[in-house]
């Protein structure tokens, strides 16, 4: 079978599955699933840019996605009156002093190489001093900010701008973090990038969880504005009620579906744009260079390509795409919950998507995003059904049966692991293999 036919068939199959959910569980559920699938697909595209194009193994997408979510809060949340007056200056001063310390530290480290052992001490003292200055500037400012209406606000607040803007800002945030991590860990062994990204993503989550002045921490930021109309407004308008009766449904169901369709439209636009740009990049001389580096670093370096710099570039690009998807996720949820970021769900699951979809193939990554998210969600009811089937012979009140039924939710972890291992072993190129160019 020609690959393009195979691709079309797989996507048609996926659409059929989603349609089946629509018929079985309702279109509302199906559309929510589609929206999450699109976001997953964009995240998978980001990871595919790093892994498929350049062979970089990063396990930090959780952190980059969360940074995208943070952008959603900073851009679109309602401003908290008085917060900036209370502590804005201190916070900015603190962040500025941290920046100055880092720049100064690097400068001193580079310039004092001739001093031998002394440079360790001098740099250390500078960093420590800078850190103390930062703490002393930020400490009172943070206390002041967190005192303002702690039940509803207690943080700096956002800028109250349209949330769509945060998608771009989220990408920039993630790119900036990726630049720092990449600078440190690229050019060394492949494992080091993995561990460094694992670390930075954990730290980003911890910062978002505990810095209440920035994100309200575990109290979550809720009620972020939407880029699409609200159901209540639609239901209230007589014109919409007329429309709903005209197509023969009730207004509440129609409104909910239309809102989800609006989201789906917005998300699809981003997906198509990212997909188009990645494909163009992959076909360009730049894409050829990336693949050359991936397949043989030594040869590419011998041809005068700066391998580390290109790796840094592609790492930043991929992370930015993940950041955009993270901002979109926060947009869809309408809230930012730092505790919801789990490495299994936001880092490793994305990897499963890329590997199963077909590493190095953008359409494959998109398909992987759809398929894996679909099964991640649907594995729970299916697993429950399976276990009920298996245990149906047991006594109704047997403790083993109850335990198994309780644990059905964890079936999906087992399924994902098994799926990943099986695909890696028997079809390592994935559902839609990379095209030989």
């Amino acid at each position: 079978m020609i690959q393009s036919q195979r691709t079309i068939m797989l996507f048609v199959g996926m659409a059929t599955l989603l349609a089946l959910v629509g018929i079985g569980q309702g279109w509302d559920v199906a559309l929510l699933l589609v929206n999450m699938c699109i976001i997953s697909a964009i995240m998978a595209l980001g990871v595919n840019i790093q892994w498929g194009y350049a062979g970089l193994f990063s396990i930090g997408s959780m952190g980059f996605a969360a940074l995208g979510g943070l952008a959603g809060v900073i851009i679109s949340a309602k401003p908290v009156p008085g917060a900036w007056q209370a502590g804005g200056l201190g916070v900015i001063g603190g962040l500025l002093s941290a920046l100055i310390t880092i720049v100064l530290g690097i400068f001193v480290w580079r310039r004092l190489a001739h001093l031998g052992r002394w440079r360790y001490w001098i740099t250390g003292v500078i960093v420590l001093a800078g850190f103390i200055i930062m703490r002393s500037l930020m400490g009172p400012a943070i206390t002041a900010i967190e005192k303002i209406d702690p039940a509803a606000a207690g943080y700096l607040g956002g800028m109250g701008l349209p949330i769509l803007l945060s998608w771009a800002v989220g990408g920039i945030f993630a790119a900036a973090a990726a630049w720092v991590v990449g600078k440190v860990s690229l050019g060394l062994r492949a494992d080091y990038l993995a561990i460094a990204t694992l670390g930075i993503s954990e730290i980003i989550i911890f910062i978002l969880k505990f810095e209440n002045w920035l994100t309200r921490g575990v109290k979550n930021v809720t009620g972020l504005p939407r880029p699409v109309p609200y159901e209540v407004d639609m239901i209230a308008s007589p014109a919409f009620q007329g429309f709903a009766t005209a197509i023969g449904t009730n207004a509440i169901a129609a409104a909910s579906i239309i809102v989800k369709l609006c989201y789906a439209g917005l998300f699809s636009a981003v997906l198509v744009l990212v997909l188009y740009l990645s494909e163009v990049a992959l076909r360009s001389p730049w894409g050829r260079m990336m693949r050359a580096i991936r397949d043989n670093e030594t040869a590419a370096a011998a041809m005068g390509k700066n391998v580390t710099a290109r790796h840094l570039q592609v790492f930043i690009l991929g992370s930015a795409v993940v950041g955009i998807a993270g901002a979109m996720l926060t947009t869809l949820d309408g809230q930012f919950t730092p505790t919801s970021y789990q490495p299994l769900r936001f880092t490793f699951l994305i990897w499963v998507m890329v590997i199963i979809g077909g590493s190095g193939n953008n359409l494959g990554a998109v398909l992987g995003g759809f398929v894996i998210w679909f099964f991640w969600i649907e594995a729970e009811p299916v697993g429950l059904w399976l276990i009920e089937l298996i245990t149906s012979g047991m006594a109704q009140n047997s403790p083993l049966r109850a335990h198994l039924l309780d644990s059905a939710a964890y079936m999906r972890l087992l399924t994902m692991g098994l799926l990943l291992l099986l695909v890696l072993r028997f079809a390592p190129r994935g559902l839609i293999p990379e095209v030989k160019r």
Partner: protein, 337 residues
């Protein structure tokens, strides 16, 4: 003079004693990672979950022992169950190797593929733990809680500050010392251990001298499983058994292994203690220590804490970054590759 002693006791109570316990747990974890890295040449992402599984096996067996009324008196029952837990996780690691990793050795896959494979293994282990005992927080420790209570120490010495040593902390250190001594005896004195080191140092030369690679790999998995189980159990006894915690331990463990130089067992131990003590030193609030040492007029208003304890994890990351920037081969590197 009493003030100085009080300050010292404070530091011993909150930094030195917990540091030794936590450091031995990390060192054992890092040893497992570094052994797998030395022989199989990849970073085993599933190691944290192997620790969780090992701890879980031990916990299940110690529950069974407790239900039979068997215990160790003042010591935690988990110690008695530990050998069985080790055996169980050894079986699991061998099955995993046979079913999963062996194929990739045969096709000589690149290290990155191994890491991705270990992600798959991690998912399965993770699911297994949750499937069997669920995600809840469980207490693993029983027997006598303290070797020395803070109050007893106060009455014995007449100081204002108490020094408490938990049984679990002492057990951690003693177990770690025994495990490490056995490991090094094995690596340095036995023929198999020597062949393992030879293989880790130079694969081709080892093959030329007739060392069977499959056997070396098998022994490596056995050792890694044993170390992971001991580390996981000790951590579980010292804190409590929470399945999700072990994935968060992955970062400090890898940081310890890298600080020590990947593939270097002695370095991994040193790295474990470096990470543990830096975490505690950086996140300890020195207010009371300073209050003892300085005259009353200079008593600090704040906590005199460099970093809040929420950011423990940032410490290991910072150390990791510093090592990567200054000496990527690790501070205790032997080999240059």
């Amino acid at each position: 003079m009493a003030d100085v002693l009080n300050a010292l006791v404070l530091i011993a109570n909150f930094i030195i004693v917990p540091g030794f316990a936590y450091g031995s747990q990390l060192a054992l974890g890092a040893l497992g990672v570094t052994l797998v890295f030395g022989v199989l040449r990849f970073s085993n992402i599933a190691h944290g979950e192997t620790m969780a599984l090992g701890a879980m096996f031990t916990m299940l067996i110690s529950w069974w022992l407790q239900s039979m009324g068997i215990g160790l008196g003042p010591l935690p029952t988990a110690l008695l169950a530990l050998p069985f837990g080790i055996a169980a996780s050894m079986c699991l690691c061998l099955i995993t190797d046979r079913a999963v990793y062996r194929y990739y050795r045969r096709v000589k896959a690149s290290p990155v593929i191994y890491i991705i494979v270990s992600v798959g293994v991690m998912f399965i282990y993770n699911g297994l733990v949750r499937f069997i005992v669920g995600p809840a927080d469980r207490v693993m420790v029983d027997g006598q809680r303290f070797i020395m209570k803070a109050k007893d120490f106060k009455t014995a010495t007449g100081l204002d500050e108490g020094l408490a040593i938990k049984t679990s902390q002492a057990v951690s250190v003693v177990c770690a010392v025994i495990a490490v001594a056995m490991l090094f005896w094995f690596l340095n004195r036995t023929r198999t251990g020597k062949s393992m080191r030879a293989y880790s140092n130079n694969e081709d030369l080892a093959l030329l001298s007739g060392i069977n690679p499959e056997r070396v790999v098998l022994i490596t998995w056995l050792l890694a499983a044993a170390l992971a189980t001991v580390a996981g159990t000790l951590y579980g006894i010292d804190k409590s058994f929470q399945p999700f915690v072990y994935m968060q331990l992955l970062l400090p463990i890898f940081a310890a292994a890298i600080v020590g130089g990947f593939g270097n067992p002695l370095g991994a131990i040193a790295g474990g203690f470096v990470i543990a003590f830096s975490e505690l030193v950086v996140t300890f609030a020195y207010k009371r220590v300073v209050a003892y040492l300085l005259p009353e007029s200079l008593e600090p208003a704040g906590l005199v804490q460099l970093l809040s304890t929420d950011y423990k994890i940032a410490v290991s990351f910072t150390i990791l970054v510093i090592v990567l920037l200054i000496k990527p081969t690790g501070l205790f590197a032997q080999r240059t590759t």
